[in-house]
Protein backbone atom coordinates (compact mmCIF):
# COMPACT_ATOMS: atom_id res chain seq x y z
CA UNK A 1 0.00 0.00 0.00
CA UNK A 2 1.38 3.35 -0.99
CA UNK A 3 1.24 5.93 1.77
CA UNK A 4 -1.04 8.90 1.30
CA UNK A 5 1.05 12.03 0.97
CA UNK A 6 0.36 15.42 2.53
CA UNK A 7 -0.29 16.86 -0.91
CA UNK A 8 -3.00 14.33 -1.49
CA UNK A 9 -4.68 15.19 1.78
CA UNK A 10 -4.59 18.85 0.83
CA UNK A 11 -6.12 18.14 -2.59
CA UNK A 12 -8.76 16.02 -0.88
CA UNK A 13 -9.68 18.93 1.39
CA UNK A 14 -9.88 21.32 -1.57
CA UNK A 15 -12.12 18.85 -3.32
CA UNK A 16 -14.47 18.48 -0.36
CA UNK A 17 -14.81 22.27 -0.12
CA UNK A 18 -15.34 22.65 -3.89
CA UNK A 19 -17.96 19.93 -4.03
CA UNK A 20 -19.75 21.38 -1.00
CA UNK A 21 -19.90 24.79 -2.67
CA UNK A 22 -21.07 23.32 -5.97
CA UNK A 23 -23.72 21.27 -4.20
CA UNK A 24 -25.36 24.50 -3.00
CA UNK A 25 -26.11 25.66 -6.56
CA UNK A 26 -29.68 24.26 -6.68
CA UNK A 27 -30.49 26.21 -3.50
CA UNK A 28 -29.66 29.49 -5.22
CA UNK A 29 -31.34 29.03 -8.56
CA UNK A 30 -33.82 26.55 -10.00
CA UNK A 31 -33.99 27.94 -13.51
CA UNK A 32 -31.52 28.62 -16.29
CA UNK A 33 -28.36 28.65 -14.18
CA UNK A 34 -29.13 25.27 -12.62
CA UNK A 35 -29.90 23.89 -16.05
CA UNK A 36 -26.60 25.19 -17.37
CA UNK A 37 -24.81 23.90 -14.26
CA UNK A 38 -26.33 20.49 -14.86
CA UNK A 39 -25.04 20.45 -18.42
CA UNK A 40 -21.58 21.44 -17.21
CA UNK A 41 -21.51 18.75 -14.53
CA UNK A 42 -22.68 16.23 -17.10
CA UNK A 43 -19.75 17.08 -19.38
CA UNK A 44 -17.31 17.16 -16.47
CA UNK A 45 -18.43 13.66 -15.53
CA UNK A 46 -18.27 12.45 -19.15
CA UNK A 47 -14.87 14.01 -19.78
CA UNK A 48 -13.40 12.64 -16.56
CA UNK A 49 -14.66 9.16 -17.42
CA UNK A 50 -13.25 9.60 -20.93
CA UNK A 51 -9.85 10.74 -19.70
CA UNK A 52 -9.75 7.75 -17.37
CA UNK A 53 -9.16 5.65 -20.47
CA UNK A 54 -7.98 7.99 -23.21
CA UNK A 55 -5.59 10.02 -21.06
CA UNK A 56 -2.99 7.34 -20.35
CA UNK A 57 -3.54 5.30 -23.55
CA UNK A 58 -3.78 8.20 -26.07
CA UNK A 59 -6.54 6.27 -27.82
CA UNK A 60 -9.30 8.59 -29.00
CA UNK A 61 -12.59 6.98 -28.09
CA UNK A 62 -15.67 8.18 -29.97
CA UNK A 63 -17.95 5.66 -28.31
CA UNK A 64 -19.15 8.02 -25.57
CA UNK A 65 -22.55 8.53 -27.20
CA UNK A 66 -23.01 4.78 -27.57
CA UNK A 67 -22.51 4.03 -23.87
CA UNK A 68 -24.43 7.13 -22.87
CA UNK A 69 -27.38 6.05 -25.01
CA UNK A 70 -27.26 2.52 -23.66
CA UNK A 71 -27.51 3.86 -20.12
CA UNK A 72 -30.43 6.10 -21.08
CA UNK A 73 -32.21 3.18 -22.65
CA UNK A 74 -31.76 0.93 -19.62
CA UNK A 75 -33.64 3.49 -17.57
CA UNK A 76 -36.19 4.10 -20.33
CA UNK A 77 -37.08 0.42 -20.55
CA UNK A 78 -36.92 -0.45 -16.87
CA UNK A 79 -38.23 2.63 -15.08
CA UNK A 80 -41.75 1.23 -14.61
CA UNK A 81 -40.54 -2.16 -13.41
CA UNK A 82 -37.44 -1.71 -11.27
CA UNK A 83 -36.25 0.87 -8.72
CA UNK A 84 -33.89 3.57 -10.03
CA UNK A 85 -30.69 2.55 -8.14
CA UNK A 86 -30.92 -1.00 -9.51
CA UNK A 87 -31.29 0.43 -13.01
CA UNK A 88 -28.08 2.39 -12.48
CA UNK A 89 -26.26 -0.83 -11.58
CA UNK A 90 -27.72 -2.60 -14.63
CA UNK A 91 -26.61 0.34 -16.80
CA UNK A 92 -23.08 0.03 -15.40
CA UNK A 93 -23.06 -3.71 -16.10
CA UNK A 94 -24.32 -3.35 -19.68
CA UNK A 95 -21.94 -0.46 -20.37
CA UNK A 96 -19.09 -2.52 -18.95
CA UNK A 97 -19.92 -5.65 -20.93
CA UNK A 98 -20.31 -3.78 -24.23
CA UNK A 99 -17.12 -1.74 -23.75
CA UNK A 100 -15.29 -4.88 -22.68
CA UNK A 101 -16.33 -6.70 -25.85
CA UNK A 102 -15.42 -3.74 -28.05
CA UNK A 103 -12.09 -3.53 -26.24
CA UNK A 104 -11.34 -7.21 -26.76
CA UNK A 105 -12.10 -6.89 -30.49
CA UNK A 106 -10.13 -3.71 -31.16
CA UNK A 107 -7.57 -2.89 -28.48
CA UNK A 108 -5.18 -5.67 -29.41
CA UNK A 109 -4.59 -3.77 -32.66
CA UNK A 110 -3.25 -0.28 -33.40
CA UNK A 111 -5.10 2.85 -32.37
CA UNK A 112 -6.60 3.55 -35.79
CA UNK A 113 -8.77 0.44 -35.71
CA UNK A 114 -10.14 1.51 -32.37
CA UNK A 115 -10.98 5.04 -33.54
CA UNK A 116 -12.74 3.75 -36.64
CA UNK A 117 -14.69 1.19 -34.68
CA UNK A 118 -15.87 3.67 -32.08
CA UNK A 119 -16.66 6.30 -34.75
CA UNK A 120 -19.65 4.34 -36.00
CA UNK A 121 -20.58 2.60 -32.79
CA UNK A 122 -23.27 5.03 -31.67
CA UNK A 123 -24.81 4.81 -35.13
CA UNK A 124 -24.63 1.01 -35.06
CA UNK A 125 -26.34 0.67 -31.68
CA UNK A 126 -28.91 3.28 -32.69
CA UNK A 127 -29.81 1.27 -35.80
CA UNK A 128 -30.13 -1.94 -33.81
CA UNK A 129 -32.27 -0.29 -31.11
CA UNK A 130 -34.52 1.33 -33.73
CA UNK A 131 -34.85 -1.98 -35.55
CA UNK A 132 -35.77 -3.87 -32.38
CA UNK A 133 -38.27 -1.22 -31.39
CA UNK A 134 -40.03 -1.01 -34.75
CA UNK A 135 -40.20 -4.77 -35.19
CA UNK A 136 -40.82 -6.11 -31.72
CA UNK A 137 -42.39 -3.32 -29.67
CA UNK A 138 -45.21 -0.88 -30.24
CA UNK A 139 -43.44 2.46 -30.59
CA UNK A 140 -40.09 4.13 -31.09
CA UNK A 141 -40.08 6.51 -28.13
CA UNK A 142 -40.02 5.77 -24.42
CA UNK A 143 -41.35 7.93 -21.62
CA UNK A 144 -39.33 8.32 -18.44
CA UNK A 145 -41.60 9.87 -15.86
CA UNK A 146 -40.10 10.25 -12.38
CA UNK A 147 -40.34 12.55 -9.39
CA UNK A 148 -36.74 13.71 -9.89
CA UNK A 149 -36.24 17.43 -10.33
CA UNK A 150 -33.21 18.94 -12.05
CA UNK A 151 -31.69 19.49 -8.60
CA UNK A 152 -31.83 15.77 -7.82
CA UNK A 153 -30.18 14.88 -11.11
CA UNK A 154 -27.55 17.54 -10.48
CA UNK A 155 -26.70 16.11 -7.05
CA UNK A 156 -26.55 12.57 -8.35
CA UNK A 157 -24.20 13.61 -11.16
CA UNK A 158 -22.01 15.54 -8.77
CA UNK A 159 -21.75 12.52 -6.50
CA UNK A 160 -20.94 10.31 -9.48
CA UNK A 161 -18.23 12.73 -10.62
CA UNK A 162 -16.63 12.49 -7.18
CA UNK A 163 -16.82 8.71 -7.46
CA UNK A 164 -15.10 8.81 -10.88
CA UNK A 165 -12.33 11.00 -9.43
CA UNK A 166 -11.83 8.60 -6.54
CA UNK A 167 -11.74 5.67 -8.97
CA UNK A 168 -9.16 7.46 -11.07
CA UNK A 169 -7.06 8.18 -8.00
CA UNK A 170 -7.27 4.56 -6.84
CA UNK A 171 -6.32 3.29 -10.32
CA UNK A 172 -3.33 5.60 -10.30
CA UNK A 173 -2.13 4.07 -7.04
CA UNK A 174 -2.72 0.51 -8.20
CA UNK A 175 -0.64 -1.87 -10.30
CA UNK A 176 -2.99 -1.12 -13.23
CA UNK A 177 -2.20 2.59 -13.03
CA UNK A 178 1.54 1.93 -12.90
CA UNK A 179 1.25 -0.39 -15.89
CA UNK A 180 -0.75 2.23 -17.79
CA UNK A 181 1.90 4.89 -17.21
CA UNK A 182 4.55 2.61 -18.67
CA UNK A 183 2.35 1.69 -21.64
CA UNK A 184 1.57 5.35 -22.24
CA UNK A 185 5.26 6.24 -22.28
CA UNK A 186 6.49 3.35 -24.38
CA UNK A 187 4.49 0.32 -25.28
CA UNK A 188 7.52 -1.71 -26.35
CA UNK A 189 9.15 -1.24 -22.96
CA UNK A 190 5.90 -2.26 -21.32
CA UNK A 191 5.77 -5.46 -23.35
CA UNK A 192 9.39 -6.26 -22.43
CA UNK A 193 8.83 -5.98 -18.70
CA UNK A 194 5.95 -8.41 -19.00
CA UNK A 195 2.90 -6.15 -18.96
CA UNK A 196 -0.12 -7.53 -20.80
CA UNK A 197 -0.93 -4.17 -22.37
CA UNK A 198 -4.07 -5.32 -24.20
CA UNK A 199 -5.57 -6.63 -20.98
CA UNK A 200 -4.78 -3.42 -19.10
CA UNK A 201 -6.35 -1.29 -21.84
CA UNK A 202 -9.48 -3.42 -22.03
CA UNK A 203 -9.90 -3.21 -18.27
CA UNK A 204 -9.57 0.55 -18.29
CA UNK A 205 -11.95 0.96 -21.23
CA UNK A 206 -14.45 -1.24 -19.42
CA UNK A 207 -14.39 0.96 -16.32
CA UNK A 208 -14.71 4.10 -18.42
CA UNK A 209 -17.60 2.66 -20.47
CA UNK A 210 -19.48 1.54 -17.38
CA UNK A 211 -19.27 5.02 -15.86
CA UNK A 212 -20.43 6.69 -19.06
CA UNK A 213 -23.45 4.37 -19.19
CA UNK A 214 -24.34 5.33 -15.61
CA UNK A 215 -24.12 9.03 -16.54
CA UNK A 216 -26.57 8.38 -19.37
CA UNK A 217 -28.86 6.52 -17.00
CA UNK A 218 -28.87 9.37 -14.48
CA UNK A 219 -29.74 11.86 -17.20
CA UNK A 220 -32.63 9.81 -18.61
CA UNK A 221 -35.23 11.45 -16.31
CA UNK A 222 -34.09 14.86 -17.54
CA UNK A 223 -35.00 14.00 -21.14
CA UNK A 224 -38.43 12.61 -20.07
CA UNK A 225 -38.96 11.32 -23.62
CA UNK A 226 -36.27 9.09 -25.13
CA UNK A 227 -35.88 8.19 -28.77
CA UNK A 228 -32.86 6.77 -30.60
CA UNK A 229 -31.63 9.91 -32.43
CA UNK A 230 -31.45 11.98 -29.24
CA UNK A 231 -30.11 9.25 -26.95
CA UNK A 232 -27.36 8.20 -29.38
CA UNK A 233 -26.48 11.70 -30.53
CA UNK A 234 -22.92 11.44 -31.96
CA UNK A 235 -22.34 15.11 -31.10
CA UNK A 236 -21.84 14.07 -27.45
CA UNK A 237 -18.84 11.94 -28.41
CA UNK A 238 -17.16 14.76 -30.33
CA UNK A 239 -17.86 17.40 -27.69
CA UNK A 240 -16.33 15.19 -25.01
CA UNK A 241 -13.19 14.72 -27.10
CA UNK A 242 -12.86 18.44 -27.76
CA UNK A 243 -13.48 19.51 -24.17
CA UNK A 244 -11.09 16.93 -22.72
CA UNK A 245 -8.29 17.69 -25.16
CA UNK A 246 -8.81 21.40 -24.78
CA UNK A 247 -8.25 21.10 -21.04
CA UNK A 248 -5.50 18.52 -21.29
CA UNK A 249 -5.48 14.81 -20.64
CA UNK A 250 -2.47 14.23 -18.43
CA UNK A 251 -4.36 14.64 -15.18
CA UNK A 252 -7.93 13.73 -14.33
CA UNK A 253 -8.97 17.24 -13.40
CA UNK A 254 -7.42 19.05 -16.39
CA UNK A 255 -10.53 18.58 -18.60
CA UNK A 256 -12.38 20.83 -16.14
CA UNK A 257 -10.53 23.78 -17.65
CA UNK A 258 -11.85 22.89 -21.08
CA UNK A 259 -15.39 21.93 -20.13
CA UNK A 260 -16.58 25.16 -18.54
CA UNK A 261 -15.65 27.67 -21.27
CA UNK A 262 -16.53 25.35 -24.13
CA UNK A 263 -19.95 24.42 -22.72
CA UNK A 264 -20.79 28.12 -22.35
CA UNK A 265 -19.52 28.92 -25.84
CA UNK A 266 -21.25 25.97 -27.47
CA UNK A 267 -24.49 26.72 -25.64
CA UNK A 268 -24.41 30.28 -26.89
CA UNK A 269 -23.50 29.45 -30.49
CA UNK A 270 -25.99 26.62 -30.88
CA UNK A 271 -28.77 28.78 -29.43
CA UNK A 272 -28.10 31.77 -31.68
CA UNK A 273 -26.67 30.19 -34.84
CA UNK A 274 -27.84 26.56 -34.86
CA UNK A 275 -26.43 25.94 -38.34
CA UNK A 276 -22.97 27.10 -37.37
CA UNK A 277 -22.29 24.66 -34.54
CA UNK A 278 -20.36 22.23 -36.77
CA UNK A 279 -18.13 25.07 -37.94
CA UNK A 280 -17.36 25.78 -34.28
CA UNK A 281 -16.48 22.12 -33.72
CA UNK A 282 -14.22 22.18 -36.75
CA UNK A 283 -12.39 25.27 -35.59
CA UNK A 284 -12.06 23.81 -32.09
CA UNK A 285 -10.44 20.64 -33.43
CA UNK A 286 -7.98 22.59 -35.59
CA UNK A 287 -7.20 24.92 -32.69
CA UNK A 288 -6.39 21.98 -30.44
CA UNK A 289 -4.07 20.36 -32.95
CA UNK A 290 -2.17 23.44 -34.05
CA UNK A 291 -2.14 25.75 -31.04
CA UNK A 292 -2.73 23.81 -27.84
CA UNK A 293 -1.57 20.22 -28.40
CA UNK A 294 -0.98 19.79 -24.67
CA UNK A 295 -4.27 21.37 -23.69
CA UNK A 296 -4.80 24.59 -21.80
CA UNK A 297 -3.19 22.96 -18.78
CA UNK A 298 0.01 22.54 -20.78
CA UNK A 299 -0.08 26.22 -21.67
CA UNK A 300 -0.67 27.25 -18.09
CA UNK A 301 2.13 25.01 -16.86
CA UNK A 302 4.43 26.48 -19.48
CA UNK A 303 3.69 30.01 -18.34
CA UNK A 304 4.08 29.24 -14.63
CA UNK A 305 7.36 27.43 -15.28
CA UNK A 306 8.75 30.38 -17.16
CA UNK A 307 7.55 32.64 -14.37
CA UNK A 308 9.21 30.59 -11.62
CA UNK A 309 12.43 30.41 -13.63
CA UNK A 310 12.50 34.19 -13.84
CA UNK A 311 11.93 34.34 -10.09
CA UNK A 312 14.87 32.02 -9.46
CA UNK A 313 17.08 34.14 -11.65
CA UNK A 314 16.20 37.33 -9.82
CA UNK A 315 16.98 35.58 -6.52
CA UNK A 316 20.45 34.77 -7.75
Amino acid sequence: MIKITKDEIRILLYMVVAVAILACLPLLDQGYILSLGLTIVMYVALCTAWVLFSGPTHYISLATAAFFGLGTYVVGIGIDVLPFPILLIIAALIGGVVSGLVGIATLRLSGVYFVIFTLGMAELIRQIVTWIQTNFTTGIGLYVLTDFSEAHIYWMLLALTVLIFITGWLINRSRLGFAMRIIGNDETVAAHVGIDSAKAKVLLFLISGAYIAVIGAILAPRFAYIEPPSAFNPMISFLVVIMSLMGGTRTLWAPLIGVVPFTLLFDMVSARFPNHSSILLGIAFLLIVYLIPDGLIGRIEGITKRFSKKKERTHE
Binding site: H58, I60, A105, T106, L109, S110, G111, V112, Y113, V115, I116, F117, L119, G120, E123, L124, Q127, I128, T130, W131, T134, N135, P234, F238, L245, N275, H276, S277, S278, I279, L280, L281, G282, I283, A284, F285, L286, L287, I288, V289, Y290, P293
Partner: protein, 288 residues
Protein backbone atom coordinates in the same frame (compact mmCIF):
# COMPACT_ATOMS: atom_id res chain seq x y z
CA UNK B 1 -28.82 -12.52 -58.75
CA UNK B 2 -30.58 -9.17 -58.63
CA UNK B 3 -29.02 -8.55 -55.22
CA UNK B 4 -25.56 -9.36 -56.51
CA UNK B 5 -25.82 -7.05 -59.53
CA UNK B 6 -27.30 -4.15 -57.54
CA UNK B 7 -24.63 -4.71 -54.91
CA UNK B 8 -21.83 -4.68 -57.46
CA UNK B 9 -23.18 -1.50 -59.05
CA UNK B 10 -23.25 0.18 -55.63
CA UNK B 11 -19.83 -1.26 -54.82
CA UNK B 12 -18.36 0.56 -57.83
CA UNK B 13 -18.92 3.94 -56.21
CA UNK B 14 -17.71 2.64 -52.84
CA UNK B 15 -14.58 1.35 -54.54
CA UNK B 16 -13.60 4.82 -55.77
CA UNK B 17 -14.05 6.40 -52.34
CA UNK B 18 -12.09 3.61 -50.68
CA UNK B 19 -9.33 3.60 -53.30
CA UNK B 20 -8.94 7.35 -52.78
CA UNK B 21 -8.62 6.85 -49.05
CA UNK B 22 -6.31 3.88 -49.26
CA UNK B 23 -3.87 5.91 -51.40
CA UNK B 24 -4.02 8.81 -48.95
CA UNK B 25 -3.46 6.59 -45.94
CA UNK B 26 -1.08 4.15 -47.55
CA UNK B 27 1.26 6.69 -49.15
CA UNK B 28 0.81 10.01 -47.36
CA UNK B 29 0.27 8.24 -43.99
CA UNK B 30 -2.71 10.46 -43.20
CA UNK B 31 -5.90 8.86 -42.00
CA UNK B 32 -8.20 11.33 -43.73
CA UNK B 33 -11.46 11.35 -41.81
CA UNK B 34 -12.72 14.22 -43.96
CA UNK B 35 -12.85 12.00 -47.02
CA UNK B 36 -16.64 11.73 -46.80
CA UNK B 37 -16.84 15.52 -46.96
CA UNK B 38 -14.74 15.58 -50.14
CA UNK B 39 -17.29 13.19 -51.56
CA UNK B 40 -20.31 15.23 -50.49
CA UNK B 41 -18.74 18.49 -51.67
CA UNK B 42 -18.23 16.88 -55.05
CA UNK B 43 -21.88 15.72 -55.07
CA UNK B 44 -22.98 19.32 -54.49
CA UNK B 45 -20.64 20.68 -57.17
CA UNK B 46 -21.98 18.23 -59.72
CA UNK B 47 -25.54 19.03 -58.70
CA UNK B 48 -24.94 22.74 -59.06
CA UNK B 49 -23.16 22.41 -62.42
CA UNK B 50 -25.88 20.15 -63.77
CA UNK B 51 -28.76 22.36 -62.67
CA UNK B 52 -27.48 25.82 -63.42
CA UNK B 53 -24.81 25.30 -66.08
CA UNK B 54 -26.29 22.16 -67.69
CA UNK B 55 -22.98 20.35 -67.60
CA UNK B 56 -23.15 16.59 -68.02
CA UNK B 57 -21.98 14.95 -64.75
CA UNK B 58 -19.63 12.55 -66.53
CA UNK B 59 -17.93 15.47 -68.29
CA UNK B 60 -18.13 17.39 -65.02
CA UNK B 61 -15.55 14.98 -63.59
CA UNK B 62 -12.95 16.65 -65.80
CA UNK B 63 -13.71 20.00 -64.18
CA UNK B 64 -14.03 18.71 -60.62
CA UNK B 65 -10.88 16.58 -60.73
CA UNK B 66 -8.37 19.46 -61.14
CA UNK B 67 -10.18 21.48 -58.47
CA UNK B 68 -10.08 18.54 -56.06
CA UNK B 69 -6.40 18.01 -56.86
CA UNK B 70 -5.45 21.60 -56.06
CA UNK B 71 -7.60 21.71 -52.92
CA UNK B 72 -6.24 18.45 -51.53
CA UNK B 73 -2.67 19.42 -52.40
CA UNK B 74 -3.18 22.64 -50.46
CA UNK B 75 -4.71 20.82 -47.49
CA UNK B 76 -1.77 18.44 -47.35
CA UNK B 77 1.00 20.99 -47.75
CA UNK B 78 -0.48 23.67 -45.52
CA UNK B 79 -2.23 21.73 -42.77
CA UNK B 80 -0.94 18.18 -42.67
CA UNK B 81 2.73 18.41 -43.61
CA UNK B 82 3.53 20.43 -40.45
CA UNK B 83 2.03 17.58 -38.44
CA UNK B 84 4.12 15.00 -40.27
CA UNK B 85 7.25 17.03 -39.51
CA UNK B 86 6.44 17.56 -35.86
CA UNK B 87 5.40 13.97 -35.09
CA UNK B 88 7.98 12.04 -33.09
CA UNK B 89 6.51 8.65 -33.92
CA UNK B 90 3.76 6.96 -35.89
CA UNK B 91 1.25 6.91 -33.03
CA UNK B 92 1.59 10.66 -32.49
CA UNK B 93 1.04 11.39 -36.18
CA UNK B 94 -2.00 9.17 -36.09
CA UNK B 95 -3.61 11.06 -33.22
CA UNK B 96 -2.70 14.46 -34.69
CA UNK B 97 -3.94 13.64 -38.18
CA UNK B 98 -7.16 12.17 -36.83
CA UNK B 99 -7.87 15.34 -34.88
CA UNK B 100 -6.86 17.68 -37.72
CA UNK B 101 -8.99 15.86 -40.28
CA UNK B 102 -11.88 15.87 -37.82
CA UNK B 103 -11.48 19.64 -37.79
CA UNK B 104 -11.58 19.76 -41.59
CA UNK B 105 -14.55 17.41 -41.56
CA UNK B 106 -16.66 19.60 -39.30
CA UNK B 107 -15.55 22.80 -40.99
CA UNK B 108 -16.56 21.53 -44.45
CA UNK B 109 -19.76 20.00 -43.15
CA UNK B 110 -20.66 23.22 -41.38
CA UNK B 111 -19.97 25.31 -44.48
CA UNK B 112 -22.13 23.02 -46.60
CA UNK B 113 -24.91 23.08 -43.99
CA UNK B 114 -24.86 26.86 -44.05
CA UNK B 115 -24.77 26.92 -47.85
CA UNK B 116 -27.31 24.25 -48.70
CA UNK B 117 -29.21 23.49 -45.48
CA UNK B 118 -29.94 20.02 -44.21
CA UNK B 119 -32.33 18.92 -46.96
CA UNK B 120 -31.80 15.99 -49.26
CA UNK B 121 -30.85 16.70 -52.86
CA UNK B 122 -31.02 14.68 -56.04
CA UNK B 123 -31.33 15.31 -59.75
CA UNK B 124 -32.44 13.29 -62.70
CA UNK B 125 -29.72 12.09 -65.04
CA UNK B 126 -30.08 9.09 -67.35
CA UNK B 127 -32.88 7.77 -65.18
CA UNK B 128 -34.14 5.30 -67.73
CA UNK B 129 -34.04 1.60 -67.20
CA UNK B 130 -31.75 -0.94 -68.75
CA UNK B 131 -32.37 -4.66 -68.67
CA UNK B 132 -29.72 -7.19 -67.62
CA UNK B 133 -30.72 -10.86 -67.40
CA UNK B 134 -34.44 -10.12 -67.27
CA UNK B 135 -34.32 -7.46 -64.50
CA UNK B 136 -34.31 -3.70 -65.02
CA UNK B 137 -31.59 -1.49 -63.49
CA UNK B 138 -31.18 2.29 -63.63
CA UNK B 139 -29.01 3.28 -66.58
CA UNK B 140 -27.32 5.95 -64.45
CA UNK B 141 -26.10 3.27 -62.03
CA UNK B 142 -24.64 1.23 -64.86
CA UNK B 143 -22.92 4.24 -66.44
CA UNK B 144 -21.52 5.26 -63.03
CA UNK B 145 -20.23 1.75 -62.49
CA UNK B 146 -18.52 1.62 -65.90
CA UNK B 147 -16.93 5.02 -65.27
CA UNK B 148 -15.69 3.78 -61.88
CA UNK B 149 -14.14 0.72 -63.52
CA UNK B 150 -12.43 2.93 -66.07
CA UNK B 151 -11.03 5.30 -63.43
CA UNK B 152 -9.76 2.52 -61.19
CA UNK B 153 -8.22 0.75 -64.18
CA UNK B 154 -6.39 3.88 -65.27
CA UNK B 155 -5.15 4.42 -61.73
CA UNK B 156 -3.92 0.86 -61.47
CA UNK B 157 -1.99 1.12 -64.72
CA UNK B 158 -0.55 4.46 -63.59
CA UNK B 159 0.65 3.01 -60.28
CA UNK B 160 2.14 -0.18 -61.71
CA UNK B 161 3.41 0.82 -65.15
CA UNK B 162 4.76 4.36 -64.92
CA UNK B 163 7.87 5.77 -63.34
CA UNK B 164 6.04 8.24 -61.10
CA UNK B 165 3.55 5.57 -60.10
CA UNK B 166 6.44 3.37 -59.02
CA UNK B 167 7.87 6.13 -56.84
CA UNK B 168 4.43 6.55 -55.25
CA UNK B 169 4.46 2.86 -54.38
CA UNK B 170 8.00 3.13 -53.10
CA UNK B 171 6.97 5.82 -50.62
CA UNK B 172 4.07 3.61 -49.57
CA UNK B 173 6.48 0.79 -48.73
CA UNK B 174 9.06 2.83 -46.83
CA UNK B 175 9.30 6.65 -46.86
CA UNK B 176 12.84 6.68 -45.42
CA UNK B 177 14.20 4.24 -47.99
CA UNK B 178 12.40 6.07 -50.79
CA UNK B 179 14.24 9.21 -49.78
CA UNK B 180 17.54 7.36 -50.12
CA UNK B 181 16.92 6.56 -53.78
CA UNK B 182 16.33 10.23 -54.62
CA UNK B 183 12.56 10.33 -54.38
CA UNK B 184 11.21 13.62 -53.06
CA UNK B 185 9.07 12.05 -50.34
CA UNK B 186 7.23 15.22 -49.35
CA UNK B 187 6.24 15.94 -52.92
CA UNK B 188 5.19 12.39 -53.70
CA UNK B 189 3.16 12.31 -50.47
CA UNK B 190 1.41 15.56 -51.37
CA UNK B 191 0.81 14.21 -54.87
CA UNK B 192 -0.63 10.96 -53.50
CA UNK B 193 -2.87 12.82 -51.07
CA UNK B 194 -4.14 15.03 -53.90
CA UNK B 195 -4.58 12.04 -56.20
CA UNK B 196 -6.59 10.24 -53.53
CA UNK B 197 -8.76 13.33 -53.19
CA UNK B 198 -9.37 13.35 -56.95
CA UNK B 199 -10.44 9.70 -56.97
CA UNK B 200 -12.79 10.30 -54.04
CA UNK B 201 -14.25 13.39 -55.70
CA UNK B 202 -14.83 11.41 -58.89
CA UNK B 203 -16.62 8.83 -56.77
CA UNK B 204 -18.82 11.63 -55.39
CA UNK B 205 -19.72 12.88 -58.85
CA UNK B 206 -20.69 9.40 -60.00
CA UNK B 207 -22.58 8.69 -56.78
CA UNK B 208 -24.62 11.87 -57.15
CA UNK B 209 -26.10 10.68 -60.45
CA UNK B 210 -28.18 8.02 -58.73
CA UNK B 211 -28.03 8.72 -54.99
CA UNK B 212 -29.93 11.16 -52.78
CA UNK B 213 -27.42 13.17 -50.77
CA UNK B 214 -27.36 15.81 -48.03
CA UNK B 215 -24.77 17.93 -46.30
CA UNK B 216 -24.34 15.74 -43.23
CA UNK B 217 -24.04 12.27 -44.73
CA UNK B 218 -20.24 12.48 -45.12
CA UNK B 219 -19.40 10.70 -41.87
CA UNK B 220 -21.30 7.56 -42.84
CA UNK B 221 -19.34 7.35 -46.09
CA UNK B 222 -16.07 8.02 -44.30
CA UNK B 223 -16.81 5.11 -42.03
CA UNK B 224 -17.69 2.77 -44.86
CA UNK B 225 -14.57 3.82 -46.74
CA UNK B 226 -12.41 3.21 -43.67
CA UNK B 227 -13.87 -0.24 -43.15
CA UNK B 228 -13.30 -1.09 -46.83
CA UNK B 229 -9.71 0.15 -46.61
CA UNK B 230 -9.03 -2.05 -43.60
CA UNK B 231 -10.77 -5.01 -45.20
CA UNK B 232 -8.72 -4.63 -48.35
CA UNK B 233 -5.46 -3.93 -46.53
CA UNK B 234 -4.04 -0.41 -46.15
CA UNK B 235 -2.59 0.93 -49.40
CA UNK B 236 -3.81 -2.02 -51.46
CA UNK B 237 -5.84 -0.75 -54.44
CA UNK B 238 -6.86 -4.21 -55.63
CA UNK B 239 -7.92 -5.24 -52.11
CA UNK B 240 -9.97 -2.06 -51.70
CA UNK B 241 -11.88 -2.75 -54.93
CA UNK B 242 -12.75 -6.30 -53.93
CA UNK B 243 -13.67 -5.27 -50.38
CA UNK B 244 -15.90 -2.51 -51.79
CA UNK B 245 -17.77 -5.00 -53.95
CA UNK B 246 -18.20 -7.35 -50.98
CA UNK B 247 -19.54 -4.49 -48.88
CA UNK B 248 -21.89 -3.36 -51.66
CA UNK B 249 -23.34 -6.86 -51.98
CA UNK B 250 -23.59 -7.37 -48.21
CA UNK B 251 -25.42 -4.08 -47.78
CA UNK B 252 -27.84 -4.71 -50.63
CA UNK B 253 -28.53 -8.21 -49.33
CA UNK B 254 -29.24 -6.90 -45.82
CA UNK B 255 -31.46 -4.12 -47.14
CA UNK B 256 -33.56 -6.41 -49.34
CA UNK B 257 -33.66 -9.54 -47.20
CA UNK B 258 -33.80 -8.17 -43.63
CA UNK B 259 -34.33 -4.43 -43.21
CA UNK B 260 -33.02 -1.31 -45.02
CA UNK B 261 -32.38 0.24 -41.59
CA UNK B 262 -29.67 -2.28 -40.75
CA UNK B 263 -27.03 -1.51 -43.40
CA UNK B 264 -24.54 -0.17 -40.84
CA UNK B 265 -25.02 -3.30 -38.77
CA UNK B 266 -24.09 -5.35 -41.85
CA UNK B 267 -21.00 -3.19 -42.40
CA UNK B 268 -19.98 -3.66 -38.79
CA UNK B 269 -20.53 -7.37 -38.92
CA UNK B 270 -17.98 -7.58 -41.74
CA UNK B 271 -15.67 -5.23 -39.87
CA UNK B 272 -15.72 -7.34 -36.71
CA UNK B 273 -15.00 -10.50 -38.71
CA UNK B 274 -12.01 -8.79 -40.30
CA UNK B 275 -10.73 -7.46 -36.97
CA UNK B 276 -10.97 -10.85 -35.33
CA UNK B 277 -9.60 -13.02 -38.12
CA UNK B 278 -7.67 -10.96 -40.67
CA UNK B 279 -6.68 -7.57 -39.19
CA UNK B 280 -3.97 -7.23 -41.85
CA UNK B 281 -6.64 -7.17 -44.60
CA UNK B 282 -8.01 -9.74 -47.00
CA UNK B 283 -4.81 -10.03 -49.01
CA UNK B 284 -2.34 -8.73 -46.45
CA UNK B 285 0.47 -10.94 -45.29
CA UNK B 286 0.86 -11.64 -41.61
CA UNK B 287 3.61 -9.48 -40.17
CA UNK B 288 5.99 -11.41 -37.92
Amino acid sequence: MEIIITGILLGGAYALIAVGLTIQYGVARIMNLATGETLVASCFCTFWMFNSLKINPILGIFLIAPAAFILNWAIYSLLLLPLVRRAKNKAMLEVDSILATFGILFLLEGLMLVGFGGEYFSYSFLSTSYTIAGTAYGLNRIVAFLAAVLITGTLYVFLTHTRYGTSVRAVAVDPAAAGLVAINVDRVSAFAFALGGVVTAAGGTLLSTFYTFNASMGVVFTMKALIIVIMGGVGDVRGAVIAALILGIAETATATLIDPGLTIAATYFLFILILLFRPQGLFGRQTT
